[in-house]
């Protein structure tokens, strides 16, 4: 049973990346504007994250090196420090956006004032992180995130156009205008980027160490990375399908979380709507915890300080102070009233820029026989990883120019 529950690390990691506040709206926008034409970006992103999640889990197990320790060794102190600062700024911005998103969902459920709900959310998440062991954190958020299955059921009830869905597995190159072509590229980069958000690998590799995985668990590592990501990916496809079925034919371009939730609950009544809201709540909360803890992991791993959610506070004072401080700061940012969706758009696009500097060290360490011994990457894995790294780098270079010319993806 414990082995089966281990998969919740993969589910929470994937849902926190694939179905956080920004990605819920972003995927729905892509589905509402391009129907299924960007499905291939989800498939490509899923393959890439499975590959790299497995690699960073394997490095953590074999070399006992979490991602940020690998980043520092590979890139050196100066460049490593730059990646640390950039990653933690993104974690902070994303965490603040997710707190704002939690308040939106809770407001839609209760009607209470948003600022009060931001405070309640931050306090509740802080208490949960403090009181629960790591395994229970991943179980609570991973399993409750599965309520998003309501989107998959909804997608099936709405009878998706399977032919169009199938044709979306290949990139599309003919557009009615130059502007649409640029928008298509912007959404492709955004979807791909959100599936590979760097905090996913930070959290996953730290989780593998928190759970005391040993080389005996390497098969499980692959299963957890693959099944968690595939599940997250299927729910992302469901989100796109729901938008393609409900919003696309009506000419609705969603700009709000509530629009996406409504589309997900469209075939249902109040019960379905509440489940869709609770599923979104769980995913957004999971993403908030993931980014919050990742920030603390990154800091301690980079400076080689003791860390661990399951260790007593007096053994890991910097780690505890880091996640508490980051949560407080995120709460303050969220309380300023900045739109959570604006914040998360920044994190998706700027997150893309630091991706090559996170994924390259992982690939290099996993391909190094001196570090990995007999668990070193096969030639196939190294070549595939390098191919994805090229795609990641191209997307990273294109991200900001596309953001500028499309005015943040405005149709």
């Amino acid at each position: 049973m414990k082995k089966y529950l281990g998969i919740t690390l993969g589910i929470m990691t994937a849902l926190g990346g694939f179905l956080d506040l920004g990605q819920i709206v972003f995927t729905a926008q892509a589905g509402a504007y391009f129907s299924y034409q960007l499905l291939w970006a989800i498939v490509l992103g899923t393959a890439a994250i499975i590959l790299y999640m497995e690699m960073c889990g394997r490095i953590a197990v074999v070399a006992h090196e979490p991602v940020f320790s690998v980043v520092r060794t590979c890139l050196g102190f100066r460049l490593g420090l730059f990646v640390l600062i950039a990653s933690n700024l993104l974690n902070l911005i994303t965490c603040a956006a997710e707190l704002g998103g939690l308040a939106i969902v809770l407001h839609l459920l209760t009607g209470w004032p948003e600022k009060f709900l931001i405070l309640i959310s931050a306090l509740t998440l802080g208490a949960m992180v403090q009181l629960l062991r790591f395994q229970w954190i991943e179980r609570v958020f991973g399993l409750s995130g599965l309520l998003m299955i309501v989107f998959a059921v909804s997608a099936l009830i709405l009878h998706p156009d399977w032919k169009r869905l199938g044709s979306g597995l290949l990139p599309h190159f003919a557009f009615s205008s130059h502007k649409d072509g640029l928008l298509y590229a912007y959404f492709a980069v955004g979807i791909f980027s959100a599936m590979l958000m760097v905090y996913e690998v930070h959290f996953y590799s730290s989780g593998a160490i928190e759970e005391d995985w040993t080389p005996k668990d390497l098969k499980e590592n692959f299963m957890v990375a693959a099944l968690g990501s595939i599940l997250g990916s299927l729910l992302t496809v469901a989100l796109m399908a729901v938008a393609a079925s409900v919003l696309f034919p009506r000419g609705i371009f969603p700009k709000l979380l509530s629009t996406t939730v409504l589309a997900g609950a469209f075939p249902f009544g109040k019960g379905g709507l509440i489940i869709a809201l609770l599923g979104s709540l769980a995913c957004v909360a999971g993403a908030a915890v993931e980014t919050n803890l990742s920030g603390a992991y990154n800091f301690c791993q980079f400076f080689n300080l003791p860390w661990g959610k399951n260790r007593p506070i007096n053994e890991v004072p910097t780690y505890t102070a880091s996640w508490v401080g980051m949560l407080l700061l995120a709460c303050v940012i969220a309380l300023t009233g900045i739109s959570p969706l604006d914040l998360v758009n920044v994190s998706i696009i700027f997150g893309m820029v630091i991706m090559p500097l996170t994924y390259y060290p992982i690939l290099r360490a996993a391909s190094d026989k001196n570090i990995m011994g007999k668990h070193v990457n096969s030639r196939f894995l190294t070549i595939t990883g390098a191919a994805f790294l090229i795609v990641i780098t191209v997307a990273a270079i294109a991200a900001i120019p596309l953001m500028i010319v499309t005015h943040w993806g405005k149709p």
């Binding site: 939106i104 407001h107 839609l108 459920l109 209760t110 009607g111 409900v246 009506r250 000419g251 609705i252 371009f253 969603p254 700009k255 709000l256 509530s258 629009t259 939730v261 409504l262 469209f266 249902f268 009544g269 109040k270 709507l273 509440i274 809201l277 005015h407 405005k410 149709p411």
Partner: protein, 129 residues
């Protein structure tokens, strides 16, 4: 700083493309409002969700009104600009009002009719641009 203050105090010219983008977004909100009002009329939404959803829509549109109020039209687009500003304002206030009346089916039906009229007007302005 002074340059910033001066540039902030003068309304910037809104291009036809930007105005078109605001119109497209507002038309999308009308379609969304009509769909959402049907959903509420069928008794499938909770009151908190409906009130919150219309509130968020109204807020987004109020941002567009603010942007339009701080801009001036490009030459030749004065009429389209004035029409757009009025229609987006009307739509925002319609949605703001309905966010407080989500349990009143008569008010919802009337609002839906008005929103359909606003959609037609917005589409007409958009075509004229």
């Amino acid at each position: 700083m002074l340059v910033l203050l001066v540039s902030c105090s003068h309304p910037s010219v809104i291009s036809r493309d930007e105005l078109h983008s605001i119109l497209r977004s507002s038309i999308s909100f009308t379609a969304e409002a009509e769909t959402s009002l049907d959903y509420v009329l069928q008794g499938r939404s909770t009151q908190n969700f409906a009130a919150g959803h219309f509130h968020y829509m109204a807020h987004e549109l109020e941002q567009s009104v603010k942007q339009l109020n701080q801009s001036k039209p490009s030459p030749g687009a004065e009429q389209a600009f004035a029409n757009s500003l009025q229609d987006v304002k009307d739509l925002a206030s319609e949605l703001r009002a309905i966010s407080f009346q989500t349990s009143d089916s008569t008010a919802i039906a009337v609002a839906k009719q008005r929103i359909t009229e606003i959609r037609r007007a917005l589409e007409k302005t958009s075509t004229s641009l």
